[in-house]
């Protein structure tokens, strides 16, 4: 039994005339005859009475027609649903994001969610390590993160969003806040609170000091960035983050770090060879547009 045969059957049932049905189906009459016969053989019951040249439905045919119709319809509905999905009338996207990029995500998120209210969105905050892991397990459609060697895997696709300089973040009333610029060496003088292991920034900062053979004064490592910023706000500690990781609303000062390769690259990371939903592509678009403002 194949959908093709069910379609043939329904058309023949509709017209009760094989010749005309065959025409409308754009097949030959002999093909229709044969396919109907094959279906009848498989069902082990005639669907039509052939009294001479008169064709009428058998009781079996009438009963079976409903099922045939529904079978065809279900398949067709599936196809239509996919077309809709393609035009994202429905669907769900899951976005991973590091705290450092939450100010990038938020406006795009608001724009997208209001524009496509029917699409469910799940946002997962986490460390870069966690996000990479979730990407690998297909639990995310994409992740927003800064570039870093943790995330370098050949089956990932990368889209650059923008570059942001690393800055020292400090309370506005702290001594550091007056500086126009600051060197790595100077920072070693101050007590720091840094993102815990797992965050790309954590690794970046550790590597940075190591490369320059400097020992930073790391007082606290913490895996919650809002809390980290609260600590910084007290003036007792300072931290190092990309400039865009801090918003004006946070009420904190950012001082650029002097040195080479002090730029972080924010990017969209996604799995290669995984189908990119239209909704996801649209979200990329909004992200890029927002950044180019």
């Amino acid at each position: 039994m194949e959908l093709r045969q069910l379609k043939y059957f329904l058309k023949a049932k509709e017209l009760l005339n094989f010749t005309e049905a065959a025409e409308q189906l754009n097949i030959s009459q002999s093909t229709l005859s044969q396919q109907i016969k094959q279906l009848e053989d498989e069902l082990d019951i005639p669907l039509f009475n052939r009294i001479g040249k008169r064709v009428t439905l058998t009781e079996a045919g009438a009963l079976f027609a409903d099922f045939a119709f529904q079978s065809i319809n279900k398949a067709q509905d599936g196809l239509l649903m996919l077309r809709d999905l393609h035009n994202f009338q429905t669907g769900k996207i899951t976005i991973g994001v590091t705290y450092g990029l939450r100010y990038v995500l938020t406006p795009a998120l608001i724009l997208f969610a209001t524009q496509y209210p029917q699409i469910k969105i799940k946002v997962v905050f986490g460390t870069s390590e966690e996000l990479i892991d979730k990407l690998n397990h297909l639990e995310l459609d994409f992740a927003l993160s800064f570039f870093g060697d943790i995330a370098v895997e050949k089956h990932f696709d990368y889209q650059n969003l923008f570059c942001s300089p690393m800055t020292v973040v400090t309370a506005p009333d702290s001594a550091l806040a007056q500086k126009e610029i600051i060197t790595l060496e100077q920072i070693t003088q101050y007590p720091l609170v840094l993102p815990a292991k797992g965050y790309m920034t954590s690794k970046f900062v550790h590597d940075l000091f190591e490369r320059h053979a400097l020992s930073p004064n790391i007082a606290i490592e913490i895996n919650d960035i809002p809390t980290l910023l609260e600590l910084v706000k007290t003036g007792n500690w300072h931290t190092i983050l990309a400039k865009t990781s801090v918003s004006q609303k946070d009420g904190l000062a950012t001082i650029p770090l002097l040195g080479e390769n002090m730029d972080r690259t924010a990017m969209i990371i996604s799995m290669k060879e995984v189908y990119q939903k239209k909704a996801v592509k649209e979200f990329y678009q909004i992200l890029h547009e927002e950044i180019n403002l």
Copy 2:
């Protein structure tokens, strides 16, 4: 899109392993690969993610699977329903019958209807002419009638049930009731009430007298047999019917008619080349069994 492909897809979805799915489907892995690919092409969307050797469902795949499943199920249900029909768990039969054979039908009808309460039965009383017409229009599954040239059509099938002698039917207290046997000629002396045109018996009786060049005294022609019998019961009139057309319950006497070819043949008449439902075949069986008691 074909049901075969949908089945392949669901198996692949179930196992998320093409090689094993192909094995369980008794096809080669390459065939499965190709058929899935073809389905994806038609749907214009990947159903699976192929990340290296890992196979996972896409969102589209997950959504489509429900429809695929239902489509297959509907077709399968149709098949199962037909199997049930074959074993007549359901269905409806329509039986045509002449009044003259109502006493043959009734016990079979009671037996069948109690044995297969789930089968709807429609009984249509009518003249042989009407029944033949309805058979031709497929409005009856079969008809019970006496044999007669009216009903001789090449696209009919005939099953003999039994033979019944023609008898004169009369009130038990009438003068005729005392006779052991009666001749055609004698009947012409008595006023008759006969079935109206259209009944096989009417034609049979008319032909009979004509063949013997006799003129019967036909006082009344009537197209309702119970009423006809009521008239006979008054003793004012007599009629001619097959012996089995009259029951003991009717309180009437039957006197065999002397002569050649005075036997009527009761039969089942049905359309050739029209599918005979199991229920109908079972009804035939019960009719035959009942008669052979």
